[in-house]
């Protein structure tokens, strides 16, 4: 029989039960207790009203179901592999999930990772007596001390939105892992289209050059890699002044803003299957593009290849999709984990970069913008709340982002860590912070 629902919630000063909860934490986990004491409570919270069960609303988000908390916890617990002895629970909530897991006698240890100590202190204060705090199988740990998910794990979904800054690395990994099956399914659905594109582009592959001829061509070189993020706008003057001693590699969406500013890249990269990539450049005059090399993956739409007036070089990605082409027309594989920006950076590294400056690589929506002015389909996001994840920008302030961008950031950070021989620099502090890329001093540092 399950224990009674732990903690009826009321907005009230910390009563005796709350004090007992905190005392239990202090006894067993003094480091955790100290961190809880130092953590400010959320600025905005309330107990849910007019719902069958009570839950907390933190910044307008429910911490748990307000109808059947234990039912929700049972659903979450059902994902645990049946032969598990230990489990990691990311996010504390009220402990409903922990309570359900404690019913599983085969579990030897339940590691509860606190992803927002301020919220967790609030829960401990506001709840009735939480018996699970006293179970010897439960361990409380701080998310701030960890960088890698441990398996098997379960997650409290609300903390994906509410995690504190020092738990964002764990939060991002959770988001990636939880969304991975859906993304895989999405790409599987596109396989027929990809194969069709490879067939359509065979004539181009047969005659176009090999991106590999660029590898090692600029040893100890200085490169500037340009994405189409909003901060590109405020760095065009810097780019114009620093262009001459660097090799400029861009994504296709940034080509128009660059040409509008009178800046001409050496190389443009395209690898997305979407016909929208052609829209990035179709309205541009042919003459300036005639001197720009297009490096492409052969799933791009053939219209782009037919249009491109400059040299074309092909590459593959490290995927089985390209295996048959690889045998027939060997081409190198470049790195990509979801975005052409990754590939542009990898090309710079493979060309021999000693230093790579990243411009417009924002992976976020600074000032609510999607792209730099002049980029095709640049827009404002529909209110900051519609992109409900946030990450920290180069000034340490929250900036809206989304799940895909979080994945790009974390994967790129791992890539940068694998290349200590290259100095990576970044401009555009309104965009997302990127571990492994040093921020350059900027003249415009408002906001």
């Amino acid at each position: 029989m399950l224990p009674p629902l732990s903690g009826s919630l009321q907005e009230r000063p910390c009563g005796s039960a709350g004090n007992e909860n905190l005392a239990a934490v202090r006894r067993r986990w003094p480091d955790v207790w100290q961190r809880l004491q130092r953590s400010p409570l959320p600025e905005s919270w309330q107990v849910s009203a007019h719902t069958p069960q009570s839950t907390l609303l933190v910044h307008g988000l429910q911490l748990t179901s307000a109808y059947d908390r234990l039912g929700e916890a049972r659903l979450q617990a059902s994902r645990l592999p049946p032969d598990s002895r230990n489990v990691w629970v990311y996010g504390m909530g009220f402990g409903d999930l922990i309570t359900v897991l404690l019913e599983m006698r085969h579990l030897a240890r339940i590691n509860v990772v606190l992803l927002h100590p301020g919220i967790d202190r609030l829960v401990l204060q506001q709840s009735g007596r939480l018996d699970w705090l006293r179970d010897p199988r439960v361990e409380l740990l701080l998310g701030s001390g960890q960088r890698q998910l441990q398996k098997p794990w379960l997650a409290m979904p609300a903390y994906l939105r509410l995690a504190s800054d020092d738990s964002l690395v764990l939060r991002d990994q959770l988001v990636l892992e939880l969304n991975h099956p859906y993304q895989e399914e999405h790409f599987l659905r596109l396989q027929d289209l990809f194969h069709q594109r490879l067939e359509e582009n065979r004539p181009f592959l047969k005659s176009d050059g090999d991106t590999g001829i660029l590898f090692g061509s600029r040893p100890e070189g200085r490169f500037i890699v340009v994405g189409a993020g909003p901060t590109l706008e405020t760095n065009l003057d810097w780019l114009r002044q620093n262009r001459s001693d660097a090799t400029l590699i861009t994504v296709t969406r940034a080509v128009k803003p660059l040409l509008d500013a009178g800046i001409f890249p050496e190389i443009a990269l395209a690898l997305d299957h979407s016909p929208f990539v052609f829209d990035h450049v179709r309205s541009l005059p042919a003459e300036p593009l005639a001197a720009v090399t297009l490096a492409y993956a052969p799933v791009v739409c053939p219209e782009l290849l037919r249009f491109w007036p400059g040299p074309r070089l092909a590459f593959y990605l490290d995927e089985p999709l390209y295996d048959s082409l690889r045998r027939q027309w060997p081409r190198p594989s470049l790195y990509c984990s979801g975005t052409v920006v990754h590939t542009a950076i990898d090309l710079a590294v493979r060309m021999g970069a000693r230093e790579v400056v990243l411009l417009g690589v924002d992976f976020s929506y600074p000032e609510g913008k999607s792209h730099a002015a002049g980029a095709v389909a640049a827009s404002r996001i529909a209110g900051e709340s519609s992109h409900r994840f946030t990450t920290r920008n180069g000034r340490g302030r929250p900036v809206p982002t989304d799940a895909n961008f979080l994945g790009y950031i974390r994967d790129l950070e791992q890539y940068l860590a694998r290349h200590p021989e290259v100095r990576f620099l970044k401009r555009g502090k309104a965009g997302a912070d990127l571990q492994g890329a040093e921020w350059m001093n900027e003249e415009h540092d408002a906001g």
């Binding site: 988000l61 748990t64 179901s65 109808y67 979904p157 609300a158 939880l178 859906y182």
Partner: protein
């Protein structure tokens, strides 16, 4: 349509936002088509249903996925 609702609830309660939003969008699309039929609309308590649909959309927009799951499972499904 009920299957899309169930899948949306399942995914949202587990934090699988991509899949949850996909099934939620599919459910809302099918519901819209469903309610466009006069016989269905007449048999559905629209004055009760529509405010919950509005609340659902608002919950999704602000990323309040457990609220969205609650509305789907306990308020909207019983009315369909």
């Amino acid at each position: 349509m009920q299957d899309d609702l169930r899948k949306a609830v399942f995914c949202l309660r587990l934090g699988m936002e991509g899949a949850g939003n996909h099934h939620l969008a599919t459910f809302l699309q099918k519901l819209s088509g469903h309610l466009a039929r006069p016989d269905i609309a007449a048999a559905t308590p629209l004055p009760l249903l529509l405010p919950h649909i509005q609340a659902l959309v608002e919950a999704q927009e602000r990323g309040d996925y457990l609220r969205a799951a609650d509305l789907l499972e306990y308020e909207i499904r019983p009315l369909l």
